[in-house]
């Protein structure tokens, strides 16, 4: 939708349109905006943490508030920033890459977003009443005995947004299985689509473990059960296992789509086909499979015994092999290419050494016994920021620069893009490289403060300065977005000399994406046509009516109901009157579900004649 049209329609109509939309492109916008906002909140929390740790025995914030800060920083960044921005990219790109007009379940797509948003709101509303303070891992019994309602907000918020994620995962699985354009076999799918496919599978099999863990936590805290209460025979280890059975695959859920995006970017800006495509697909699937075999490497020090520790250590090391295959394939994609160095490519190029360091420390951590020294120190903090920021956040920045024209019809400013990159990149390494050493010289993670004379002053100061550089870089990026939007320069459908299907249609794409479904004749479908001197794709069907789904407010209402019920669950511990909210909320949700079930929703058609006139563009 162009800004001009939006202005003509009035603000109310635009808001209503976004509340009810089932269009994957608009849902991508919703995910991106809300994920971006949560990213800023999480970043602010990170800055407060770094200010507190700037000098020894600092009292910038109190110990209790500090624990809330680290908990919310981790939870927000993983669940409310990284996941939704990935979903934004999935929504914006995957249907276009496979030549589909929408996802398999547009209604569920919208529901997934609203569930995520309301879950995220619950979690952040806790700032006004006392935030969760048991770490993002929320280990029992610290979490089950945490006073106040902070952990309750954590449980309800993640449960609701987790349900949204699960729905999204199923949606993309079915979309990729069923909705590919004619000729697009699995081994012709762009690598980004492949990684989304594997990521969705991981979501499907990992999130239910979190769901169960959160239910048990909820029952223990709100209804007096005894899963984690040793006094009644409970076992706190169950939470750790369930959390990491979810939590480890979650890391790959986050990183795989970034791998996919980098593959597209390296290939496009080297003007070369991806080196070792089938090996890349194989490595992606293998990483996804191994993701479920290694969760206990987060638990080397809990006392599982040497046999379990050894098995999980070796299994974890095995992941380095497919990851290494990917690194070399990326290098050799560029080898012999014609490398154009713009912002998207800068982030991708910077990713390789950064992620290699993260992978190296990953293998070091996998050595079970050595982890007795690394575990829960700043070494681990450094490691996972190297993989998650160096892999995923770099990936998000790269993807946004790369796909921004497709999503919004404008190219982000190159000069500002480079400023963002250098500030963020230098700041990142300053912040986190030194933390490896802080950990090794004895600084455990989640430390509110450290004592003078422990040799930790210099490192922490450097780290804090670096964090400020990252913050400034992020602000420059936001300025870039605003400036680009204000300028409003339009861009063609294919600004990068692209290779895949999304570059065959206008930017931003019309409501129905493809006027005629394209016929795919090989990997890098557009490139195949270009190399034969053709301008665009051969259509696979004659021009005809296009069937599109109807908008609906029901997903919003269903999520709103759960949001209301969430507060009922949290506060019924204090006073049973709050159960009224549970009934009202569940009533709204179940009522909306019933409405959805009994009211036929057949969708509508865009007619051939209108298509020829260019309607909907």
């Amino acid at each position: 939708m162009s800004t001009a049209v939006a202005q003509n329609r009035g603000l109310g109509a635009v808001i209503w349109d976004y509340l009810t939309t089932v269009d994957h492109k608009k849902i991508a916008h919703l995910y991106l905006v809300s994920g971006g906002l949560f990213f800023l909140i999480g970043g602010l929390e990170a800055m407060i943490i770094r200010i507190q740790l700037m000098e020894p025995s600092n009292n910038f914030i109190s110990a209790g508030l500090y624990n809330e800060m680290i908990t919310m920083h981790g939870t927000t960044m993983i669940f409310l920033a990284a996941m939704p921005i990935i979903f934004a990219l999935m929504n914006a790109v995957v249907p276009l890459q496979i030549g589909a007009r929408d996802v398999a379940f547009p209604f569920l797509n919208s529901l997934g977003f609203w569930l995520f948003l309301f879950g995220g709101l619950i979690l952040n509303i806790s700032w006004f009443t006392g935030a969760p303070d048991a770490g993002w891992t929320n280990y029992a019994p610290l979490s089950t005995t945490s006073p106040g309602h902070g952990v309750d907000y954590y449980v309800m918020g993640l449960q609701i947004s987790g349900a949204g994620t699960l729905i999204g995962g199923i949606n993309f699985l079915v979309t990729i299985v069923n909705m590919r354009a004619p000729g697009m076999t699995y081994m012709r799918m762009p690598l980004f689509t492949w990684t989304v496919f594997v990521t969705s599978t991981l979501i499907l099999f990992a999130f239910p473990a979190l769901t169960v863990g959160l239910f048990l936590m909820m029952f223990d805290r709100m209804f007096g059960s005894a899963f984690f209460d040793v006094a009644l025979g409970g076992n706190a280890m169950i939470w750790e296992h369930l959390f990491w059975i979810f939590g480890h695959p979650e890391v790959y859920i986050l990183i795989l789509p970034a791998f996919g995006a980098f593959s597209e970017i390296f290939s496009t800006f080297s003007k070369k086909r991806l080196f070792g495509y089938s090996a890349m697909v194989f490595a992606t699937v293998l990483i996804g499979f191994l993701a479920f075999m290694v969760w206990a490497h987060h638990m080397f020090t809990v006392g599982l015994g040497p046999i379990a520790n050894s098995i999980f250590a070796v299994a974890t090391m095995a992941i380095a092999v497919p990851t290494g295959i990917k690194i070399f394939n990326w290098l050799f994609t560029m080898w012999g290419g014609n490398i154009r160095m713009n912002s998207a490519m800068l982030w991708s190029v910077a990713f390789i050494p950064t992620f290699t360091i993260g992978g190296m420390t990953g293998v070091m951590l996998a050595a079970a016994a050595a982890d007795y020294q690394y575990h829960d120190t700043y070494f681990v903090v450094a490691h996972f920021h190297y993989v998650i920021v160096g892999g995923l956040v770099f990936g998000i920045f790269a993807s946004l620069h790369y796909w921004w024209p497709k999503m919004f019809g404008q190219v982000l400013n190159e000069a500002l893009g480079k400023w963002t990159f250098w500030l963020f990149f230098i700041g990142f390494h300053m912040t986190f490289f030194i933390q490896h050493f802080l950990g090794l010289i004895g600084m455990p993670r989640r430390y509110w403060t450290y004592q003078e004379g422990q040799g930790l002053e210099v490192g922490n100061m450097i780290s804090t300065v670096g964090a400020f550089l990252m913050a400034i870089g992020t602000l420059v990026f936001i300025y870039n977005i605003v400036q680009t939007a204000v300028k409003g320069e339009k861009v063609s459908g294919d600004p990068w000399d692209g290779r895949t299907l999304e570059w065959t249609i206008p930017s931003p794409p019309p409501h129905y994406n493809f006027k005629q479904t394209p016929l795919v004749r090989g990997l890098d479908a557009l490139w195949v046509e270009k190399s034969e001197g053709k301008k665009g794709m051969t259509p696979a069907e004659p021009l005809g009516d296009i069937h599109m789904p109807n908008n609906s407010i029901l997903p919003f209402l269903m999520s709103l109901g759960l949001f209301i019920a969430g507060f009922g669950f949290i506060y019924q511990v204090d006073d049973k009157m709050w159960l009224i909210l549970v009934f009202i909320g569940m009533g709204i949700t179940l009522g909306s579900m019933l409405t959805r079930s009994v009211k036929d929703d057949l969708g509508h058609h865009i007619h051939k004649e209108d298509l020829e006139k260019g309607a909907g563009e």
Partner: protein, 207 residues
């Protein structure tokens, strides 16, 4: 609207649940969903197995469970799975009336199962004072079996809603996938129960 014609063909295809793209999406999407549900129940089973010895010295599984009632429940649920197969058989033959009849029987059997389960819980709570809060075993038992019971309740509501909604208009390509996945859900519930019967009741009684 041309949709109407597409969804109500003169002659119903052999597999009406997979005749449209929407139907195919629902079909495969629901299988994926059941995959996720499997992990959910696997985690609950894991938790149960970790805690089924934590009885705090009273109300052990051996002491509590009576196999007679559980056997009846198993029979009810297994039979209801079979009747839902009949319903789907008639759906494929486009015999709406018989489909509704067999679904009705399924619902009745399911209600019987649910009644037994409520009675069972009531019995444990009042005769043995064995509750959700008694011990970690109590929490794990009621959570696992209760989750399954919740699924049964949801399945019954779903099938009933579908039967009522479509009672007057009969079968078409729009609602056939809905009936089909509801019956898939019902089978899944049945399979989970077989595991509960084995792991919770039989192993509890024997082990």
């Amino acid at each position: 609207m041309s949709n109407e014609d597409v969804l109500n063909p003169k002659e119903m295809p052999h597999e009406p649940e997979k005749a449209t793209l929407e139907g195919k999406n629902k079909f495969i999407g629901f299988w994926f969903f059941l995959g996720g549900e499997t992990v959910l129940f696997a985690c609950l089973f894991g938790t149960y197995l970790a805690l089924n010895g934590s009885t705090m010295g009273e109300n052990t599984p051996e002491h509590l469970f009576g196999l007679e009632l559980v056997f009846i429940m198993t029979m009810l649920l297994l039979t209801s799975s079979l009747t839902s197969v009949y319903a789907m058989y008639h759906m494929k033959n486009n015999d709406f009336g018989k489909m509704q009849l067999w679904l009705g029987i399924t619902v009745v059997l399911g209600l019987g199962f649910l009644g037994c389960e409520i009675y069972e819980f009531y019995h444990y709570i009042h005769e043995y004072e064995f509750t959700f809060r008694s011990s970690a075993f109590g929490s794990a038992f009621y959570t696992l079996v209760g989750f399954h019971g919740g699924h049964v309740l949801f399945g019954l509501s779903w099938i009933t809603a579908l039967m009522i909604r479509n009672a007057r208009r009969g079968l078409n390509l729009y609602n056939a996938p809905k009936f089909y996945i509801a019956s898939l859900y019902w089978h899944f519930i049945d399979v989970v129960w077989v595991f509960i019967f084995t792991v919770v009741y039989l192993m509890g009684k024997v082990g």
